[in-house]
């Protein structure tokens, strides 16, 4: 680009020279994508949510394509935090990638344990706390669905983690009032918010006449959900204009990413789009930069939440 563009962004005290990231669970630990582009050429890698113990996850089929989207029910398969920190993180850090580790637990305590393990790890930029997980202590209801449980998780992580590593709380769109949940977790110590996780969905296989997925329900992602993501980002930015948002949900090109930035996102995660285009993350980042320059912005920051600019004037 000939025009100077300040493309950097921040989440809490973590500064990133570039604003487009992988989405948790859509890049594994980065190794595979590194074959398609250097991982340090994007904002950073958000790793698949890791739990304390190794997990086999849900039975197959684990996916169903839906119109402009897909359902997944992976069930957080993974090696467990210890193997993950021993094998994946050192490699990832060695590539020069900026790393955001996503953690997931089944109890408030588990999240705190995970946070404690991360405290001493070098090379991490931030922790994404995936609270869209079933809370085994409360009838399996998802933490992110209730202000109290969402708050409890983030408070626990904040306390255990100490003050350095920024916390990005990842919220579920399957709630009556996402801004209310956002307020709780920010109050509890989150430095930023990741919006949105998948929507709960289901496909019935008309041959077997049973739920298609091994796990029955699954998470809906892809372009189909983008209008819901944009709305959530817009609402939360309106409620909490100073909290950085990592926007995601169906971003497929630079224009989609730009929409989210205008709605209030400080950074973008690319998930499902990487499945059809391994280069999606870098491509979208490049396209976003082009769009910002074309529209006359000299920094990403100027564009964040720009779609709200009439709000103060008109009231609404």
């Amino acid at each position: 680009m000939s025009v100077e563009l300040d493309f950097s962004t921040s989440f809490g005290n973590a500064w990133f020279p570039l604003p487009v990231f992988t989405a948790s669970g859509c890049a594994s630990s980065g190794r595979e994508l590194s074959q398609f582009f250097p991982l340090n050429e994007i904002g950073g890698v958000v790793t698949k949510s890791i739990m304390i113990k190794p997990r086999l996850g849900r039975p197959t089929p684990r996916m169903a394509e839906t119109p402009s989207g897909m359902l997944n029910s992976i069930g957080l398969q993974g090696p467990g935090i210890d193997a993950f920190l021993a094998n994946d993180i050192p490699w990832l850090v060695s590539t020069g990638a900026r790393v955001i580790v996503s953690i997931a637990g089944e109890t408030v305590e588990e999240y705190a344990v995970l946070a404690r393990k991360l405290r001493s790890v070098t090379g991490l930029s931030a922790v994404e706390v995936n609270i869209s997980c079933p809370n085994v202590e409360n009838r399996g209801q998802v933490f992110a669905c209730h202000p109290e449980s969402a708050r409890a998780v983030i408070e626990g992580v904040r306390r255990t983690l100490g003050g350095d590593l920024p916390i990005i709380a990842k919220l579920s769109p399957d709630v009556t009032d996402i801004a209310a949940i956002a307020r709780e977790v920010v109050d509890a110590g989150a430095d930023g918010l990741a919006l949105i996780n998948t929507l709960l969905g289901m496909v019935i296989n008309t041959s077997t006449m049973r739920p298609h997925l091994g796990g029955k329900t699954g998470g809906l992602s892809g372009p189909a959900i983008r209008p819901v993501a944009v709305r959530a980002i817009y609402q939360v930015h309106e409620a909490l204009p100073h909290i950085p948002i990592l926007g995601m949900g169906g971003v497929r090109n630079g224009s989609d990413a730009f929409e989210m930035v205008l709605a209030g996102a400080s950074g973008i995660s690319v998930g499902t789009a990487s499945f059809s285009d391994p280069l999606a993350t870098v491509r979208i980042q490049r396209e976003l930069a082009q769009l910002l320059v074309e529209k006359g912005f000299t920094s990403l920051r100027q564009a964040i939440g720009f779609a709200h600019r009439d709000d103060e004037v008109n009231g609404e």
Binding site: S28, F36, T60, R62, M70, Q77, G214, F275, S276, L279
Partner: protein, 283 residues
Amino acid sequence: MVALIMGQINRHAEQVTATVLSNKRVGQYHQILLNVGEVVKHCKPGNFVAINVGGPSSAMVLRRAFAISRISDRGEYGGTMELIVAPHGSGSKWLISQPEGAHIDLVAPLGTPFGIPTNPVRALLIGGGYGSAPLFGLAELLKSRGCRVDMILGASAAAKIYAPLEGKRSVSSLKIYTEDGSTGIMGRVTDPLEQLIADGEVDVIYSCGPMGMLAAISTIAKRNEIVHQCAVEESMACGIGICMTCVLPIKGGDGNITMVRSCIDGPVMDGELVLWDQVGQPQ
């Protein structure tokens, strides 16, 4: 044999734009010849490709996986690759409707190839439906290494048997089974298996086809302590190891179950290691 649980994407995988050179109907399938260029040099029997379907405003967001049937890096077009595509849902139907000259976005080569023995052996290749597609390229390779290659193909009916004339040249024998008897012998590919093994005709089995068929072959191979390399087929969202949808339960070294990604630790796997009865079962 190839190492099974590498957990690494095929290191030659890249995204390329291919051009349709020809697209012919063959029985119930379409034989699609693509000009893919240099990447063909790294494609081996057993590898597959992942194709973007539906064009720019498609509602289909995921790539479709297809086995590489045959490749050639000579000829007037440079590297070419043949796919055998069964019309199934909207993605495969879109693919078989692509005319000559159409551009196809594909990622290749993906997954593990069939392991090629270092010594000449007697190899039995078993294919079900379009599962025979990669076996003819494999047969040529095995033959070039001095192996004897027998082949058994099966399907529900004649139109679902894929066995091109040229392909037949590379095998020493070819038996065909159909469930309705519309061609070949009425029955299943597993029917003659015990006997062939008992007769000492089989050192190694290579198979590709529906999961049920692979499971059945695995049981027989295991009982008879015959090496069995099978190319599995699980639903795949990405094909490149980043989504964890395509997993299969495998007996790990420690006796525990491991869920491996069939897109990078497969599609070719050691049939004995797959826990067939646990595929799709809650763990």
